[in-house]
């Protein structure tokens, strides 16, 4: 096909380029880009002082700290257990493997509100799991570690929703892994432990990092499951999306938009990082 750089008009065998690209751009603009632009234009109507007052308020700072801290912790826990789950699903044979493999997608398919009420019930003081973390005395007072309605509950919810990202990013990479390299390491005298940490882990690291970033990004924006399992107390247990929602419910659109812009910028940066990571991951695999 002739290139447009030479000035020759392209001759396309396949039809529909203008129609499909035109519709794609129109629909993307209508549903995504124009409404997102509205957010930024709304922020532009705020004075710098007002914007700063909202995004650096004590409630906002506490919410960032909680959102970032717990999302990071949940993504880390998922990185460790997700790696084990992916490894086991790819390398070993055991009874119920196909069922478990399919179930990994449950957090993708289960509505977040359902996840929220379910986890809140499970980890409450009388819940199936929550009751094992303390005891209730004769007066009905609970002593021990409370999970639901504390930051630990938020951690549980964010771990749940982030679970499939690491497993699903790692699985294809582990399947493609060339066993020759492991054999070479074994032949050269490395034990299995050393082979894993010095040979396998470096090979799958970009994919692990991509999955981690995806889980982290998803956790930062999560609302549905957290709102049920957290007590949502300002300055204490309010994550950023809940804080934005509170402002919207009070019709404080300026405040909500200011916080949203901060979150949007962070999301865009994460999206960019994920794209770079994915590119690195494929190149890394091709090189090996």
């Amino acid at each position: 096909m002739a290139t447009s750089q030479t000035g020759v008009k392209k001759f396309r065998v396949l039809p529909g380029f203008k129609l499909t690209l035109g519709f794609t751009l129109f629909y993307l603009g209508l549903i995504v880009l124009i409404p997102l632009a509205a957010t930024f234009s709304k922020t532009a109507s705020l004075t710098w002082a007002h914007f700063w007052q909202v995004v650096a308020s004590p409630a906002a700072l506490a919410a960032y700290r909680l959102s970032f801290g717990v999302s990071l912790l949940a993504a880390l826990v998922n990185a460790v257990f997700g790696l084990i789950v992916a490894w086991v699903l790819v390398r070993y044979q055991f009874w119920g493997k196909r069922l478990m493999d399919a179930l990994v997608d449950l957090p993708f398919a289960l509505p977040t509100a359902v996840a929220g009420i379910t986890l809140a019930a499970l980890y409450s003081e009388h819940g199936w799991i929550g009751r094992w973390f303390g005891s209730t005395d004769a007066a009905g007072q609970f002593h021990g570690i409370k999970i639901s309605y504390t930051w630990l509950g938020i951690f549980v919810a964010l771990t749940f929703i982030g679970l499939p990202f690491i497993v699903r990013t790692l699985q294809p990479v582990l399947e493609d892994l060339d066993v020759d390299v492991e054999e070479a390491a074994a032949t050269l005298g490395a034990n299995r432990f050393k082979t894993f940490f010095r040979v396998i882990l470096p090979m799958i690291f970009p994919a692990l990092l991509t999955g981690f970033a995806l889980a982290f990004a998803r956790a930062l924006g999560e609302y549905g499951s957290v709102v049920f399992i957290s007590s949502n107390i300002p300055l204490k247990s309010q994550i950023v999306p809940v804080l934005i929602m509170t402002k919207l419910e009070q019709f404080d659109y300026a405040g909500a938009t200011a916080l949203a812009v901060v979150m949007l910028v962070i999301s865009f940066l994460l999206l960019l990082a994920i794209n770079v990571l994915q590119w690195w991951s494929t190149r890394h695999r091709e090189r090996i």
Partner: protein
């Protein structure tokens, strides 16, 4: 098949394993993985159904037959029924343009399509309030013409469309890119018309990928909570979808009722992952056949 590849095939079957973990390590790893999955996936699943029937089967069906529940189910079906086909058409169009043609800015376009996944659902709902709400860009005009979008059904459809926007496109773009354009070009050279080429050549090749995207898109459309919550206004029986109805019941301390509605959505999620696993196998089989033919 040469001796080297035969060796590889044998090793894949696990009969020759120069590299492998000791049995006790395997058992520990399998146990840890299963315990993690059981704790986070199986136990919550069981709890949904136990809680749903905790006040008896009578209350369960009473809740499901309640007019408010039925109207929530209807609204959920409307929202998914509009947003899924729209995003499906968009996905096919975007994948056709991106996979079959070369143009500048392709990577940026692909990244922009993914944007709704990176944005918090709450923000996804909020952006429509800023455009169509009373204080938004078109707010005064809409009020003047007595058109309601926010706190009404159109807003719910829009918010649902936003959060499910990339599902079909992101499934089809890599698939169609990997398939190239030679088959379509051959069809055209042999005299097929444009639409004929699409229906007879492209669609059979992408049908499993398309179905996969539609299944995921539908699951998210029916389950979306955050974005819809912002634009709904929570008018019971009018703007409550199933997930919002769950919240309303839960906030009324009607836990069994909330779990009854939740059990319907959970059942839907289980059907979704079963379908997904089935479609994945079909798609992999199709890809294998294509590889064999081209080889």
């Amino acid at each position: 098949m040469g001796p080297a590849s035969a060796f590889h095939a044998f090793r894949r079957l696990g009969r020759l394993r120069p590299t492998g973990e000791p049995v006790w390590v395997r058992w520990i790893l399998i146990a840890v993985a299963l315990a993690f999955l059981a704790l986070f996936l199986v136990v919550p699943l069981v709890l949904v159904f136990v809680e749903a029937f905790s006040k008896g089967i009578g209350l369960y069906f009473h809740t499901l037959a309640d007019p408010l529940t039925l109207s929530a189910i209807k609204l959920t079906l409307i929202a998914a029924g509009i947003s899924v086909p729209l995003n499906c058409i968009f996905g096919v169009a975007a994948a056709w343009a991106i996979a079959k043609f070369d143009f500048p800015g392709k990577n940026i376009l692909t990244t922009l399509i993914d944007l709704p996944f990176a944005v918090s659902p709450v923000i996804g709902g909020m952006i429509y309030v800023l455009v169509f709400g009373a204080q938004g860009w078109f707010g005064p005009w809409l009020i003047g013409h007595n058109i309601r979008i926010i706190f009404a059904v159109p807003g719910i459809v829009l918010a649902t469309t936003f959060v499910t926007f990339p599902f079909v496109a992101r499934e089809l773009i890599p698939l169609m890119q990997s398939q190239g354009r030679s088959e379509e070009e051959a069809a055209r050279t042999l005299g097929a018309r444009g639409w004929q080429t699409f229906w007879r050549v492209t669609l059979p090749n992408i049908k499993w990928g398309l179905l996969y995207g539609v299944i995921l898109c539908n699951a998210r459309a029916m389950g979306e909570f955050g974005a819809v919550s912002v634009v709904s206004g929570h008018i019971r029986g009018v703007t409550d979808t199933m997930p919002l109805h769950i919240q309303a019941l839960y906030d009324d301390y009607n836990s069994a009722g909330a779990f009854a509605v939740a059990s319907v959505l959970t059942f839907l999620a289980l059907v979704t992952i079963a379908l997904k696993a089935w479609v994945e196998r079909k798609g992999a089989a199709l890809a294998e056949t294509r590889e064999k033919i081209s080889a």
